[in-house]
Amino acid sequence: MSTVISARKLSKRYGSTVALNETDFEIQSGRIVGLIGPNGAGKTTALKAMLGLTSFEGELTVLGRDPRTERDALMQDVCFIADVAVLPRWIRVREAVDFVEGVHPRFSRQRCLDFLSHTKLKPDMKVRQMSKGMIVQLHLALVMAIDAKLLVLDEPTLGLDILYRKQFYKDLLEKYFDEEKTIIVTTHQVEEVEHILTDLMFIRDGRVVLSATMDDVSERFAEVMVGPDRVEAARALKPIDERQVFGKSVLLFDGVDRKRLQELGEVRAPGVADLFVATMKGTYA
């Protein structure tokens, strides 16, 4: 395992808005990292900085290179899906496959065609005739046929229906990912990605506020459901969040001894979504 991305005091401002605020983080190879944060927290800016699409202050290396000055070399090993529907509308499936094969040394035509054969896409179809889901399928087929070391996905399933979304992550996990590769994904649909993630990164107000493996997360955080009689006792342990379910309270704890929690009630691993809500409390206030 080696370090794929390393950021030190990474900063970026747009006019008076601070998008990234001297944040530090590291990403190791062979991981699937979920970069999760509220709107405007700096997710997309962080990804853009990694991909050399924007200028920044501080230090950032991706696969040992500076994305500002070595972008052309970097893109041999890095691929990204920036957003849904960025494929040019005039291009045909056949042309897109030919083109990427022509310009990308790590592209496998066979893999791409294999993937396309499981879709309804036809070689002569133009992007403008496709539904949003089909465009993403084409984009994913092109990207998955590239043997990149780092794949960055920024809201790759935005606006897709649940069938496409499930299929997208299934394909990514089963047909693409291996220990040589690293995937970074941002999304608002946290529930749909949490089972494929190996690492979690929460970003808030331009800073990475939590960076941990999923194993660490389930060890560190715990959720306890307690009846009304034990709520006060539970609150004394300083939960980071509390919500009500069927007259019972669900309290979320960070780093509290498991034995003590088990005395209060049923202990579960919290969902990423609940953890997210607890961590981001007051963001929009």
Binding site: L53, R71, M75, A85, V86, W90, F99
Partner: protein, 322 residues
């Protein structure tokens, strides 16, 4: 090198309509108009009880003296140049709007993010667009122009053939091969000459947040109006005619064919001729195409154009639309 081939293909796929179909369709329409013109003339002649074909053109031709025959040949060559020129103007418009959209459309539909996800440098991408505008499109236009010109000659020949006259000899008494070579030689000259316009339009295309056309046209025209106005106020010694001709026109119209004629001293040459025959025989040829290369203006303009393209490339590299 292989990447460049694919980048050029990509531009061609996207702009097949402008690069390929536009000159062909204009050529076909032009030929149909010729046929229509001949048919209309015949109909008019019929109504006026004029019999066509009484004058035996081919006999006349055969008895022409060599000087007159050379004149006729030069006339045929001129026809070819003119037809190619008409199609060249169409290509000029195509290239103008292609350049304006080249670095703007991809930002508007966000497909730039797809191109940038591939190992394609900004320099290679911009170069492929410049080559498409200055080589690919003019080359296709030139071929279409020559074919259309030959088509016009054939239509005339067929028309005469209906009246049992063979004028093919006359039609090819010119030097179509020389016309072809001259037109092909004109492509690199036009490319060099067009660089300031290509550079300016692509710079606007890379820079404008919206409406690149308005920026591209109104900035130079506005500057020209300012210069003219100051000139009127006599507070500036910069002659406004010079500014319009060597700045405004160079930024906007240099993609049009033969717009470099002036720089090669073409108009001075015409003024120096005193009889019609001389004009006809020496009107236009290979020498007129290469003459602009001797003027500093084409080289200064090309350097300015390349500088603007470098800025456009940097803009494409660092542009971050939030």
């Amino acid at each position: 090198m292989n990447t460049m081939k694919w980048l050029l293909k990509r531009e061609f796929w996207e702009h097949r309509g402008g690069f390929f179909w536009a000159p062909i369709i204009v050529g076909i329409v032009f030929l149909l108009l010729n046929v229509g013109g001949i048919v209309a003339t015949l109909a008019a002649a019929g109504r006026a009880h004029i019999q066509v074909g009484l004058i035996k053109f081919d006999t006349v031709l055969r008895n022409l003296d060599p000087d007159a025959l050379r004149m006729a040949g030069a006339g045929v060559d001129m026809t070819l140049y003119m037809v190619a020129g008409i199609i060249g103007i169409v290509v000029g418009f195509v290239v103008f709007f292609y350049c304006l959209g080249a670095l703007y459309d991809e930002r508007r539909d966000r497909s730039v993010l797809f191109w940038k996800s591939l190992p394609l440098s900004d320099a290679a991408t911009v170069t492929s667009k410049v080559l498409s505008a200055t080589v690919v499109a003019p080359l296709i236009g030139t071929v279409a122009g020559i074919l259309t010109g030959v088509g016009v000659l054939l239509i005339i020949a067929i028309f005469f053939a209906f009246y049992g006259q063979n004028v093919l000899g006359l039609l090819f008494s010119g030097n179509p091969l020389a016309v072809l070579l001259t037109l092909v030689a004109g492509i690199p000259v036009t490319a060099l000459w067009a660089l300031p316009t290509v550079g300016w339009l692509m710079l606007c295309s890379a820079w404008a947040r919206s409406k690149p056309f308005l920026w591209a046209v109104f900035l130079p025209v506005g500057a020209g109006l300012m210069v003219s106005w100051f000139d009127l106020m006599q507070s500036l010694t910069l002659p406004d005619v010079w500014f319009w001709e060597h700045v405004v026109a160079r930024l906007l119209f240099s993609v049009f064919p033969f717009s470099w004629l002036g720089a090669g001293g073409f108009f001075e040459k015409l003024e120096g001729m005193d009889n019609e025959q001389e004009v006809m025989l020496n009107l236009f040829g290979f020498r007129d195409v290469v003459a602009p290369l001797a003027s500093p203006e084409i080289w200064v303009g090309a350097a300015v154009g390349i500088a603007m393209l470098v800025v456009a490339t940097r803009l494409r590299r660092w542009r971050d639309d939030g």
